[in-house]
Amino acid sequence: MLLFTIRRLGVMLLTALALTFVVFYMTNLPPNLEKLAKSEASVRMSDEDVALWLDRNGFSSSVLTRYGEWLGVMPGWTRTAEDGTVTGRCITKGVAPTDAPARCGVLQGNWGYSTVFKQPVIEILSRGLGHTGWLMLSVMLVMVPSALIIGVLSGMKEGSRLDRVLSAFSIASTATPEYVSGVILVALLASATAGISPFLVESGLISGKTLFQGTATSAMDDITFWNFTLPVMTIALYGIGYIARMTRASMTEVMTQQYIRTARLKGASFPTIVLRHALRNALIAPFTVIMLQFPWLLNGVVIVETLFNYKGFGWTLVQAAGNNDIQLLLACSVVAVLVVLITQLISDIGYVLLNPRIRLA
């Protein structure tokens, strides 16, 4: 088990390095750098000026060197101008060049400076992750229990009417990506002119103009049922169907096992069989699926935060990518990659721990 974990951690580290290098390479391609130079210095720069600017700001060395600098394993670049002033990656204003640290990268906690928001990346990122954390938590609280309940209910009696109805719902929800369900939910529940809100207002059932709010901007300060329901439902819907189908498959398989028949023959009631004999065995497979949903949720978060204008991690990622904010995009991708890799690790280890039949040397 220990060896397995160590080997997995090693592969994970290697993957993280490879992925961050790919992102670094793609964001630091010459056209992107040229755009950066023009947006930072002057839009009407000639090609020579761009080259000069890049050279003066440490972009002229090889990609590998710059990746090392960014990571913090290589000493940051320094440059002595003709008049004797020393500039460098790690030399901030007001610090003497001799006092500045040699290395300053991600490993030293220096994530760089966002060119769009004019703030240190770490501040923007932690704020965004805070907002997204609340969203993710609410999604998980809605998605996991409802998906498991739907899956268990439809799997305990395969082919029953309840099973047919719930299965149809699961299939429909997996066929509805976030940007579709979001649009439909807003049109149905949060529009003052269409959907059900006009009727509810007319009959005096709700005091506001709409049943729910179509944007979640106000949820960043104060989360309420009114402004947070739609984003949460939009993300959860897509995941519910998938997890429910996995749970259903696992549940139907368990219900055909010998020990269920034994329990039935000894006269246990149907609720007892489901709750005491079947449920625990049926929940092993969905566990992995739920953990592997995290990367998928990340996609949903990006779409939903853009759709509902909720300024969390996903919104930050889109802004960074759309505005060529290299440092911020790199930081976002590090977070995204880490989330994916850590959940993969947890799902692997959890699977082994939950299922005593699997033994790993």
Binding site: L29, N32, V183
Partner: protein, 384 residues
């Protein structure tokens, strides 16, 4: 002439879809009559779920085919006074002409754009899925069959791509700047080579013992394949038959790139499972070449799960294409594809929902149809 009410709108829309209904009736009548002779496809008509799914999918396929007959207005035609018009609005100054599903923020007909969007989506998604499958199969079969270093290397690469959040990958791959660097062309050069390799190896393995026929078939494959390859990947086809808009190539390549690792993993898993079967040992004893065993013994026996996954994956690719459109990546602003029309419509969503809801429902129904079709196929193929 007045604005239409909802029953009339739906009635008029149904009349516009007349060619589709005729084609659907013909296909269903023929298929149900001869269903006992049509193998797995025929047995699909035994399962109601599969039949509904197939019906929805074929509805969109025929819509894409007959789009020119169905549309009421040109997808880019703007008529003044029809900006954000509600569904069923009569066009000002014209007799008996309506915007069936209303007008969008640029006064274009939502209905016609939705119909033309089907053509665009259905011309990319199945082709991209097919190429992703060929890449996945060509790499997954030897990885599962031989194992060893090749397996370790390709699995690591596949996991690398899978660990990337899809949207980040799209933002990195599908931007105008990236196109200048030539990375999409390199990716296309690698990915489009796989179908050619796949078909050539497939035929070579089958007719290896009969050199004249082998040379003929493989020669034809290579000639046509490399001709198409030069045109699609490098836009260097001298005759100009094969060519691809650079924007489209960029989108196409990234969708294939995202999909192929999952196919690879599925094929690899099935191959590892099937390689210990008796018929594989029998073929090995006969002295068949490894590629013959992989492509003509293992692959046909793995077809059930692969066909099911193919259907699901077309749906997933449709969703991915919609995501690209939603973020405005790699598509021109006039493009009628569903993702970008949803994106255009969402700005005024709470006031004028119809420009976004119509393509949203279209996309949802297509993916739902594909999922139901896959479910039906799974059910029927398990009955063997």
């Amino acid at each position: 002439m007045d604005n239409l009410t909802w029953p009339l709108i739906l009635g008029k829309a149904a009349v516009q879809f007349l060619p589709v209904w005729i084609a659907l009736v013909v296909v269903f009548a023929l298929s149900i009559t001869y269903k006992r002779k049509l193998g797995l496809y025929g047995r699909l008509f035994d399962s109601p779920v599969g039949m509904i799914g197939f019906g929805i999918v074929m509805f969109w396929v025929f819509t894409a085919l007959f789009a020119d007959l169905i549309i009421t207005h040109a997808p880019l035609e703007q008529i003044s006074g029809m900006k954000n018009a509600p569904p069923g609005s009569l066009i000002k100054g014209r007799e008996a002409e309506w915007y069936l599903f209303g007008g969008d923020s640029l006064a274009r007909d939502v209905f016609s754009r939705m119909v033309m969007g089907a053509r665009r989506v259905l011309s990319i998604a199945p082709a991209a899925t097919l190429i992703a499958f060929m890449v996945g199969v060509t790499l997954g079969l030897p990885a599962g069959y031989f194992g060893g270093r090749f397996d370790t290397g390709t699995s690591f690469a596949a996991n690398l791509v899978l660990a990337f959040p899809v949207i980040l990958l799209f933002y990195l791959l599908v931007t105008p700047e990236i196109r200048d660097t030539g990375i999409p062309t390199v990716l296309a050069a690698v990915l489009f080579l796989f179908p050619v390799i796949f078909v050539a190896v497939l035929l070579n393995a089958r007719y290896r013992t009969d050199p004249p026929r082998r040379n003929l078939y493989v020669g034809i494959t290579l000639a046509i394949g490399l001709w198409a390859y030069s045109g699609l990947a490098f836009n260097a086809d001298p005759t100009g038959v094969w060519s691809m808009d650079p924007n489209l190539l960029n989108v196409f390549v990234s969708v294939v790139f995202v999909n192929s690792p999952t196919v690879y993993r599925i094929v690899r898993g099935i191959t590892m499972d099937l390689k210990s079967r008796d018929y594989v040992s029998a073929a090995q004893t006969r002295g068949e070449s490894p590629w013959y065993i992989m492509l003509w013994e293992i692959l046909p026996n793995a077809r059930g799960p692969l066909i099911v996954d193919f259907c699901l994956r077309i749906g997933y690719t449709t969703i991915l294409l919609g995501t690209l459109g939603f973020f405005g990546l790699g598509v021109s602003p006039e493009s009628p594809d569903w993702g970008s029309t949803i994106n255009d419509g969402r700005r005024l969503l709470s006031i004028f929902p119809h420009p976004a809801v119509v393509p949203a429902l279209a996309l949802m129904s297509l993916v739902l149809g594909l999922n139901l079709l896959a479910d039906g196929l799974r059910e029927e193929s398990l009955k063997d």
